[in-house]
Symmetry: C2
Amino acid sequence: MNVFHVQFTNSESKYKQLTDHIKSLIVKGSLPHHYKLPSIRKLSTFLNVNNVTIVNCYKTLEQDGYAYTIHGSGTFVIADNNLIDTNEGYSESTVFGDVKYDFITSSPSPTFFPVKAFKGLLNDVLERDGGFAFNYQEAGGYLPLRQSLRELLKGYKINVPHQYVHIISGGQQGLDIIAKTLLSEGDFVFTEEPCYPGAMATFSSRGAKTVGIPVRNKGMDLQILEDRLKKFNPKFIYVMPDFQSPTGYQYDLAHRRKLLDLASKYNTLIVEDDHFSDLNYSINKIPPLKALDTENIVIYIKSFSKVFMPGLRLALLVAPPIFNTPLIEAKQFSDISTSGFLQRAFDLYLRKDLWQEHVNKVKKVYQSRCLTTISALEKRLPSSVMFTKPTGGLCVWIQLPPHICADDIANLAKQHGVGILPGDDFFIDRKQNFFRLSFTTMAEKDIEAGIEILASIIKGTLK
Amino acid sequence: MNVFHVQFTNSESKYKQLTDHIKSLIVKGSLPHHYKLPSIRKLSTFLNVNNVTIVNCYKTLEQDGYAYTIHGSGTFVIADNNLIDTNEGYSESTVFGDVKYDFITSSPSPTFFPVKAFKGLLNDVLERDGGFAFNYQEAGGYLPLRQSLRELLKGYKINVPHQYVHIISGGQQGLDIIAKTLLSEGDFVFTEEPCYPGAMATFSSRGAKTVGIPVRNKGMDLQILEDRLKKFNPKFIYVMPDFQSPTGYQYDLAHRRKLLDLASKYNTLIVEDDHFSDLNYSINKIPPLKALDTENIVIYIKSFSKVFMPGLRLALLVAPPIFNTPLIEAKQFSDISTSGFLQRAFDLYLRKDLWQEHVNKVKKVYQSRCLTTISALEKRLPSSVMFTKPTGGLCVWIQLPPHICADDIANLAKQHGVGILPGDDFFIDRKQNFFRLSFTTMAEKDIEAGIEILASIIKGTLK
Ligand SMILES: Cc1ncc(COP(=O)(O)O)c(C=O)c1O
Ligand SMILES: Cc1ncc(COP(=O)(O)O)c(C=O)c1O
């Protein structure tokens, strides 16, 4: 409480003096982000001033962007460390705080984005289409792009007319419009466990209940899946067969076929989230579920964020005919259409055959980082710590002994300049002893150095 | 049924011959889009073939993109007239069919988009930020843009810290995330009547029930509003105070204040959808509700689609502090973030003070079209037909005598090259005798010529 003490003068109103004092505390960093300010009653008693002084002060802090109020809970500090010089342009300091060895970020390295090629295409689009590039687009997508993507999909053994290929603003929007189309309050959805938290959040925002099915090296545990299918009647099963997030596991062909059979047998749908299949480091290519889907029970989402550029907010969705119209409507009521300008540029990118070239290039880099990560972990980690050895994707998933809390390791690691992502968010029951290690953004020597530090912290904790 | 007759030969399987025949009917235009194909039983009886022949035929049509099936309803034609030469690039033939006098389109004229200025800025962003322009953005928005928009909002007398200014992918997404944050199954929402259909669809997709309050020249009928507020307990009142869609009515200051008082008295929120306030042709500027909102009960959406470029998919939302975090979360689970690339370019556009210049330019053109439209209507329409005389926006709303159906007029008009939009979608109870006339895309002489034709059609019908 003492930090709030102010020696009031007669120069200005008391509330102004107090406001300036608290602002300076926030700017200096003495009051952290989300810090709860004292209650009005407490602070007025402490400073021996009228309640109204405090009320006015807090109101002003709020108006000036230094605080926010939650009705019934109090007033909290906004310490916006991200406030940057607006001439800088680029503001992407990691949300998780600055660390030297960043194993948290799993979005691709901006240095790999094909900016130069893309810039040329953006200008081509503007030359060609002028203002028409900036009009509303049909909700299903810009027709030429739907057609190019239809061609692209043939390379994944998915052969559908372009009418069923929808352009969406990222894979996350795909999950959202599927949830809107299929889910109501109280419905069940099956997911892998652990699972991408953004999917679980979207499903539960429609009031659906998520049932987790453990995922293993070769795919979802099919025995447990069938047991649960007998008990519940899920609207769909949400899976990431290629380099599952966060584990990096890949379903083998047998698991894929069996999963399709079970879904068909129990009359449910499958939502296949493909965000990583292009980053396959083995020579072994397994077709996506959608390619094996003879019964039209798979809704397929393919995101371009992890391989291409997340800031384009572009992904595709392949709809079974029966859901084609409802899904397009859900898209339309979500944001009318995806930017036609960006769709046009991406269309040209595909038509100029730049895509595969780009995939090959980044794959080589990530593959090498993946191998470095796995061999460093093998070398450094004590044997009681387990980890996955993915042959694709951007992350390794690490299991600590049950009594070790990943949060504690993460805090210690951070003090030593190493960032890792505790895994509780990936579980419905928030298991504490897992974390995710992403090798996306670091050079190999940094990966090795970071893992060395991390391993010694873990060893220290295990002792 | 006779069109389906096929003289089967032995050259190929029957299902193939039938499939080819139906495809040719679709391509020739003999079967329109959404045409319901005969049931399997009926067609097999008619052609004297096995059920399986029809099943295989319909399946093939579906796989080849000529039909879609709705479970339990049947199989329907996809007549994709929009299929264009993919080298053309630009595909925006009006969804409503081609008419010479287009009073349907209310999205702004692509020729007015500031493409050249914007192109320069896009290149500036790429020079400055490179790949970083294509990374994920914070869900609330790109900080410098939030700050420029905060400054822009001051010109509308809205003064809020940038933390409460969210960047969203168009106004429609604003409605969607508000619905996600505030609405559950069975909740009530009040809207104006008539009302923008995209809003009603979004609210009802969350299971909410819409109660319409008639809107008049100076604003919502406040007496009816208060009566309904006594009976229902709506989550919010959705309004467009500036040039309401579709009527073009503008709320006067007294109606704005009274609306705020009523919302406060009955403890509900207001969602203010500002898509047209920049297109104000009178000298009389009335502050938005948000500027008068001393109690933080207004959620404000400002779309840049109608004045700037819809294809950017950019809008802003101003959140009351208490809903700030939930709204950002809803945005994040909808599409993670809006394209950082487009946010950056728009930010530069605002910082170079190009915005107001652009608004002034387009406003002049639309104002003149608006006056031309109103005077042509005054001159030509019979006195039993009523219409609004907006002082802003892009549309006039027309009421036919009760026994006249706008759909019939629209069909007749189309035959004479004039497109109008029947108004039933704007009503909860789908009133038949209204239509919307948009003067957005046509030169003034075409507006006059189109209205002359339209008026004579209406007169002919009234006789
Ligand atoms: C498994 C998975 N699916 C979908 C997404 C959504 O990505 P986007 O919306 O950028 O395509 C992500 C993003 O991290 C993800 O990890
Ligand atoms: C009243 C109103 N609100 C919101 C929108 C959504 O527009 P956008 O998502 O392009 O901002 C529209 C579009 O027509 C509209 O008419």
